[in-house]
Amino acid sequence: MRVTVRLFARLRDLAGTGELVREVPDSATVHTVWSSLKAEMPALAQYERTISVAVNAEYARMAAAVHDGDEVAFMPPVSGG
């Protein structure tokens, strides 16, 4: 199945893009998506312990299941205000 991956701020800079589409196994979780992304772009690994994740623009956990067509977002620590 296919998911759209969204990356923000420094993660977007490190990846060179803010949006990409990836094939993942049917049983994939957010963690599966992150792991394959990390394998593809090792520079992202430095954010392993500090990212937040969202599925379809709702905060989610790494263990959350993802489904075909989902938008999975990875976000570095926030700095609004």
């Binding site: 701020a9 420094r10 500090t50 620590p77 926030v78 700095s79 609004g80 205000g81």
Partner: protein
């Protein structure tokens, strides 16, 4: 929800307060006159005793660097949900308060407003507390980032790992608000 917004336009505190005054007439305030009565920015509804506001500004220095300008980026749909969640949290903690806030994105020059928060309530203590709580929570859980362009370089600023379910962080914001 008109109460929260993420916008690339300059922020207008008075317009937001006017919206807030119109918002959700309290059921105890029967027989209100038409909303046009409340168009003056410094007016509330009859039961209101205070408007507390906070405006965040782009400062010309940060951690020893001379800041030229900031660029704000948001994950907009989630940022709106996170802002709405903060409004809900504040209204749960201070039921008499009505809260609104807007965050600006895009390029902001030194001196410009990046965020506005307004809290209206019958009494000032609740208004001040809810206003402070809201800005503390924004810094914890709203997916917005600032890229600082300073003399000699640029850097993404990173604060808190956003986790709206982190009760320790939420309680810390509450304690700060009530200090």
């Amino acid at each position: 929800m008109a109460q929260v917004a993420v916008t690339s336009e300059p922020l207008d505190l008075h317009a937001m307060i006017r919206e807030l005054v119109r918002l959700k007439p309290d059921t105890t305030y029967e027989g209100l006159k038409p909303d046009t009565t409340y168009d003056e920015p410094a007016h509330g509804r009859p039961g209101d005793g205070a408007i507390a506001t906070f405006t965040g500004l782009v400062r010309d220095h940060n951690q020893g660097r001379r800041v030229r300008f900031l660029e704000y980026e948001a994950y907009e749909p989630l940022a709106l949900r996170a802002l709405a969640r903060i409004v809900d949290e504040a209204q749960a903690a201070w039921p008499a308060v009505r809260l609104a806030m807007q965050h600006r994105i895009g390029r902001l020059e030194v001196g410009e407003g990046s965020i506005i928060v307004a809290a209206m309530s019958p009494h000032r203590a609740d208004a001040f507390a809810a206003c402070r709580y809201a800005i503390e929570r924004v810094k914890q859980i709203v997916p917005i980032w600032k890229r600082e362009h300073f003399e000699g370089g640029e850097v993404w600023l990173e604060g808190a790992t956003a986790d709206p379910d982190d009760e320790t962080a939420r309680r810390a914001a509450y304690r700060t608000a009530c200090a």
